[in-house]
């Protein structure tokens, strides 16, 4: 019963946001200065050619008609045609999504495998009174969490690719080429997650309910798995949406540093040349991905910690 209400409210919100994104991407081309039809026809095309282009793009239709066409297209999986290449946008995206997805998956894995354990180990060591450790931990993660990803990428490229020549500096084919960019986008979110998880775990370790659990004299492993972990992991889950958005944003820039041909480089390039259908398509895709991940995080949080169901709007 409670679950149904929770799911319905999340779903309504999700639908609302998806509609908003769709409308925004549709308006994007119309809000921008300049005439897309002229862009397509070419700067020195005559009036007639521009008119033909306008009709072909459907820009001569009334606004609501264009919007309906746009939405109708979305449902058929048609995102329009690139101004620059005359390829369907879906095709463009399909060609470029590989390197970006690879980055996102590798980055997420790094964050989970490094950030989370570091936070928990950090909390346990701090509690056991390793002062030097606390200083080193706070200092290093604090610095890492405040450096933007493109700077980390630059420094990493200098060290590993230029100075030591261990890894390739550019390219999007091999897995080795993905290591540096993945590390570059993962360092910052991993560091902030490690910090949060450490503080949260310390709180949990000092909490009355863990004292209660200690009074039951459970084996240490059970104490941590059943009583500490579920409460400290919610922090990380709650950060899940933000982390994913930060990964996507990081990927857009970091692809540029390593000259990877992914969605990020394509997005930036399309903005520069005014290829609006491609911009629309990529923004729509990334936006939907971010929103869906956020919704998923909410539901998982609801399962792990039912209190969030009631606290959430």
């Amino acid at each position: 019963m409670k679950w149904r209400r929770f799911l319905v409210s999340r779903f309504v919100r999700l639908a609302f946001v998806l509609v908003a994104i769709t409308t925004l991407t549709f308006l994007m081309m119309h809000l921008a200065p300049g005439d897309p039809a002229r862009l397509v026809a070419g700067m020195d095309a005559d009036e007639q050619a521009v008119q033909i282009a306008r009709e072909r793009l459907g820009l001569d239709q009334p606004m609501y008609q264009q919007f309906l066409d746009y939405v109708g297209g979305l449902f058929r999986g048609d995102l329009g045609t690139s101004f620059a290449t005359n390829q369907p946008v879906t095709e463009e995206i399909a060609q470029k999504i590989g390197p970006t997805a690879q980055l996102a998956v590798l980055g997420m894995a790094l964050i989970l495998l490094v950030g989370l354990p570091m936070g928990i180990i950090g909390a346990v060591l701090t509690r056991n009174g390793h002062r030097w450790f606390e200083i080193a931990f706070s200092g290093s993660t604090g610095a890492m969490a405040s450096i933007p990803q493109y700077l980390i990428a630059t420094f990493l490229a200098f060290l590993f690719a230029v100075t030591w020549q261990l890894l390739p500096v550019a390219g999007s084919g091999s897995i080795e080429a993905a290591i540096l960019p993945a590390v570059a986008i993962a360092v910052r979110p991993a560091a902030s997650i490690a910090r949060l998880v450490r503080v949260r775990t310390l709180e949990v370790l000092e909490s009355p309910y863990v004292r209660t659990a200690r009074s039951k004299r459970l084996p240490t492993r059970k104490l941590y798995l059943a009583h500490v972990f579920p409460n400290s992991i919610t922090t990380m889950l709650a950060m899940g949406g933000v982390t994913f958005a930060s990964l996507i944003g990081g990927a857009v820039i970091v692809e540029q540093v390593f000259a990877r041909l992914g969605l990020g480089t394509t997005l930036v390039h399309s903005v520069l040349v005014g290829d609006y259908p491609v911009v629309q398509g990529i923004v729509l895709l990334l936006g939907f991905a971010v929103v869906l991940v956020n919704a998923l995080v909410d539901v998982i949080l609801g399962i792990v910690d039912p209190r969030t169901m009631e606290a959430g709007r």
Binding site: R127, N128, G129, E206, S207, P208, Y209, V210, R211, T212, A213, R214, S215, K216, R217, L218, P219, K222, A226, H227, P230, N231, T234, V304, D305, P306, R307, E310
Partner: protein
């Protein structure tokens, strides 16, 4: 078993317990040379203002002192087991089942992310090897013992779905799972409102009656303790200043600090025009008072 019938009756024996801050010799011990005992089935209260060391004493007895504090004692015997010398591993089952802890804040003493049932059954599952089914049945009986309605349903609920009084009774029920010989309750009613307070106190007395569990009740409220306890231990600045039966307390205690404590509790007859008694710094020099006595 000891042949001496008197010591056979003693459930908890604490001799010269001191608690101090680790690696900080300049800070005087927080609890100094505290000795007391508890007989089987007895209800004993420890009273004192905050910072008097009453909570630390109870945590030391249950070996749950927070990190950074260390304890020393000539002897702490509980139910025939040596709590000072024995390793935690050795004492695991004894402390896990024979001793039940009830803490001050029922809102936060239950794990918010786990169902009541899961939290209740883990002790007996771990220490007595009960099956899930047996443990659940026991949990339901325990909840009935503390007068919680619809116990089977409660097992599937989360702590935040219960009221404060229900949570505190659930905490007590959780302690009862191991059939404890001692219930150690630290300010069990402070966070609750008055009518619920009475219920919980009544419940503790009840359990003492029916199951014979001794109760060590810690509170700052001397009038509350005098209503239920057989004996009251008064602590002040880390030391025990008086250990007396309730009857004697009501007849008029010897120690001026205890007298002050009694006068500090307002009741309906208190003259509201006069300030309540407060304990000023340095008003009582414990050693001088003790030498006097």
């Amino acid at each position: 078993m000891n042949a001496d019938p008197v010591s056979n009756d003693i459930l908890l024996d604490v001799r010269n317990l001191s608690i101090s801050v680790e690696n900080r010799d300049e800070i005087p011990p927080l609890v100094r040379n505290v000795s007391f005992h508890l007989n089987r089935g007895e209800i004993v209260g420890i009273v004192g203002e905050s910072g008097s060391g009453k909570t630390l004493t109870s945590l030391a007895v249950s070996r749950l002192l927070p990190q950074g504090l260390s304890m020393s004692a000539d002897r702490i015997d509980f139910d025939g087991h040596d709590l000072v010398g024995g390793s935690d591993r050795e004492l695991r089952t004894v402390l896990g089942t024979n001793l039940a802890m009830v803490f001050q804040d029922p809102m936060q003493s239950l794990n918010p992310a786990r169902k009541i049932g899961a939290q209740m059954i883990e002790t007996v599952r771990e220490h007595r090897g009960l099956s899930k089914k047996e443990a659940r049945a026991l949990a339901i009986r325990s909840l009935e013992d503390v007068h919680i309605t619809e116990p089977a349903k409660r097992l599937k609920q989360y702590p935040h779905e219960l009221s404060g009084g229900m949570r505190q009774r659930t905490m007590i029920a959780m302690g009862l799972m191991g059939e404890p010989s001692l219930i150690l309750a630290d300010e069990p009613t402070t966070a609750l409102d008055v009518t619920v307070q009475a219920q919980v106190m009544q419940l503790l007395c009840d359990l003492n009656d029916r199951k014979g569990s001794a109760v060590l009740l810690i509170s700052h409220n001397i009038s509350l303790l005098s209503e239920v306890c057989d004996r009251i231990i008064v602590m002040f600045r880390g030391e025990i200043v008086e250990d007396l039966t309730t009857a004697k307390l009501l007849a008029g205690p010897d120690h001026p600090y205890t007298q002050g404590l009694i006068r500090a509790v307002p009741d309906l007859n208190t003259d509201r025009g006069v300030d309540l008694v407060t304990i000023e710094d340095g008003q009582f020099d414990v050693e001088r008072e003790m030498n006097h006595a």
